[in-house]
Amino acid sequence: MNRFKIFRNLVVPVISFSALIGLWELIILWGHVQGYLAPTPLAAWEAISSNWSTLWPLTSWTIKETVWGFGAGAVIGILFGVLMSKLRFLQRSLYPVLVVTQAVPIVAIASPLVLLMGFNLGPKVVIVAWIVFFPVTVNVLDGLNHVDHDLITLARVLGARPWRTFFLIEVPATITPLFSGLKIGATYAVTGAVIGEMAASSGQSLALYQHTQIGQLNSAGVYGTTILMTAIGMSWFLLMITLEHLCTPWLRRSVARRWSRGARTLDNTYVVKGAK
C-alpha cells in the first residue's frame, strides 16, 4: 500500500470519528446540557474506565454470546445458501420460510426462547444466530446463482468433476457476496445479543447493567455501556473486513504472495524442499 492509500483508508476515518466526538463534547458544553440528561464523551469514558473491573466480565459475556451466535449463524447461513442453490426444490420450499423467520419481531421471540432454554447463554446465541444467518444465506445464494456461466461451461469442457467445479470455481466466485452477508450480520450480532440480555439474564449482563444505570439517572454509565456494545459490533465488522482482505488477494495485488497456494511455481517448490 502506498502512502496515499494508507492516508485515505486509515487517517481519514480517524479524523472524521474524532470530529464526531468533538462535536458531541461541544454540544453538551455549549448547550449547557445537564449531566443526568446526557454526558460528555469524556464523562462516558470515565464511567467505563473507573468501573472496568465490573464491566469487563459483562462485556466478555456479551462477546461470548456473539462469538457463538455469529459462528452458528454464519455456518447455518452458508449451509442454507449452498443447499438451496444446489437443490432447487429446497430453494422453492425453504426460501419463504426463511423470510417468515425474519418477519417475526425479534423481541417477540426472545421471551418464548427464554421459556424454552432458560436464562443462560442458550437464548442469546439463538437470537444472534437467527439475525446473522439470513443476510449470509441470501448473499451466498445470490452469489452461487450468479457465477459466470461460461466459467462453469469451461470447467465442463476441461472434464471437471462437479464437486471440484464447486470448490475451485463456484466457492471462490462467491467469496465477495459471502462477506457482504457476514458484514451485515456482524453489525447486527451485538443487537441480537443485547435483545437476548434484555429479555432475561441471570445475574449480570451489559443490558441489565445499563438498566440499573438508567434507574440511578447515571447518564455517563448508560452511554458508556452503549459505547462498549458498539465497540463489540465494530470489532466484528473490522474482523470481517480483515478476513475478506486476506481471502481475496487477487482483487488488490497483481502478483501472488510467495506463500499463497496458487503461487507455487517450480523454483519455489524446490526452495521449500531445500529448506527441509
Binding site: D148, D150, L151, T153, L154, A155, R156, V157, L158, G159, A160, R161, R164, T165, L168, I169, P172, T248, P249, W250, L251, R253, S254, V255, A256, G262, A263, R264, T265, L266, T269
Partner: protein, 257 residues
C-alpha cells in the same frame, strides 16, 4: 509421432436441430491428423453448434463423432476447447490457470507444473507465472488461455475465434505465435473465425459454412508453402483462394437480401 494421411476426427451425418431451426444439417467430415483446418461463415451458420458437439457439450440429434477411431458423442475431455472469451479464473495465478484442467480433474502434479512453466517460459510469459490475470494485457490473457488448452495434452484443439477481441497488430502477432505453437506441439487444430484472411493465412484447409440450414458449402485446400509471412498475404495463390471463399460467403449474403 505424426502419422501421415491418417484421420484424427471423423463426423458421419451429424445433425442438430433447435426447435424448428435446423442448426446443423447432416454433416460428414474428416480431419487429418496434424492439420490446421479453419471454419468460416456468417453468424448463425452452426459453427459454434458444431464445436459444442465436437467437444461433447452438446448431444447431436443423430450421427457419429469419432476421435482417433473412438466414438466421443456426449463425452467431454477428449478435445481442448478454447472460446473467444479467455475465461481466465481471476483468483488463480497464470500458473494456476494453465494447470486448471489438472486441478479440476485430479491433482496438479509436479509434472503438470513443470509443463506449464515450460510453456510459459517458451512463449514469453515466464516472468508472469505468479501474476494474477487481472494484471495481464488482452494478448497475454489469450496466450494463457491457449496454454491452458494445450496443457490438457489432447491431440485435438478446438479454437472458437480466439483472437476475435484483439486489435489488428496483436492479432497478427498472435497468429504467428499460434502457428509456431502448432508446429512445436504437432496438434490438430480446428479454428473458427470470421476473418477470411486469418483463415487462409493459418490453414491447410478452409471449410466454408452457410446458415439456414447450417451446412458446409465449400472445402478449400490451401496449398501455400510454410512458413508463411506478411508477404504471403499479397501472393496470387493467397488472393485466389481468398476470392473463392469470399464469393461463397457473398453468395449467401445476396440470396438473403
Amino acid at each position: 509421432m505424426r502419422v501421415p494421411n491418417s484421420e484424427l476426427l471423423t463426423l458421419v451425418d451429424v445433425t442438430k436441430r433447435f426447435g424448428t431451426t435446423q442448426a446443423l444439417s447432416p454433416t460428414s467430415l474428416s480431419i487429418e491428423r496434424g492439420s490446421f483446418v479453419s471454419i468460416v461463415g456468417p453468424s448463425g451458420c452452426g459453427k459454434s453448434t458444431l464445436f459444442n458437439i465436437l467437444s461433447g457439450l452438446l448431444l447431436p440429434d443423430g450421427g457419429e463423432v469419432a476421435v482417433g477411431g473412438k466414438s466421443v458423442v456426449g463425452s467431454t475431455g477428449h478435445a481442448g476447447y478454447m472460446l473467444q472469451k479467455d475465461l481466465l479464473v481471476p483468483w488463480r495465478t497464470v500458473l494456476g490457470n494453465i494447470t486448471l484442467g489438472a486441478a479440476l480433474t485430479g491433482r496438479v502434479t509436479e509434472e503438470d507444473r513443470r509443463q506449464a512453466t515450460s510453456f510459459a517460459t517458451r512463449y514469453g510469459l515466464g516472468d508472469f507465472l505468479r501474476h494474477y490475470p487481472g494484471s495481464l494485457s488482452g494478448g497475454m490473457r489469450q496466450r494463457v488461455a491457449l496454454m491452458r488448452t494445450l496443457a490438457l495434452n489432447t491431440e485435438l484443439l478446438l479454437l472458437d475465434e480466439p483472437f476475435g477481441a484483439l486489435d489488428a497488430q496483436t492479432r497478427f502477432e498472435m497468429q504467428q505465435w499460434l502457428l509456431s505453437v502448432w508446429r512445436d506441439s504437432q496438434r490438430t487444430v480446428l479454428f473458427i473465425t470470421h476473418d477470411v484472411d486469418e483463415a487462409v493465412f493459418l490453414s491447410d484447409r478452409v471449410l466454408v459454412m452457410s446458415p439456414r440450414p447450417g451446412r458446409i458449402v465449400d472445402d478449400v485446400e490451401v496449398a501455400i508453402t510454410r512458413p508463411r509471412t506478411l508477404a504471403t498475404l499479397t501472393e496470387t495463390d493467397f488472393t485466389t483462394i481468398k476470392a473463392r471463399i469470399l464469393r461463397q460467403l457473398h453468395r449467401d449474403a445476396e440470396s438473403l437480401s
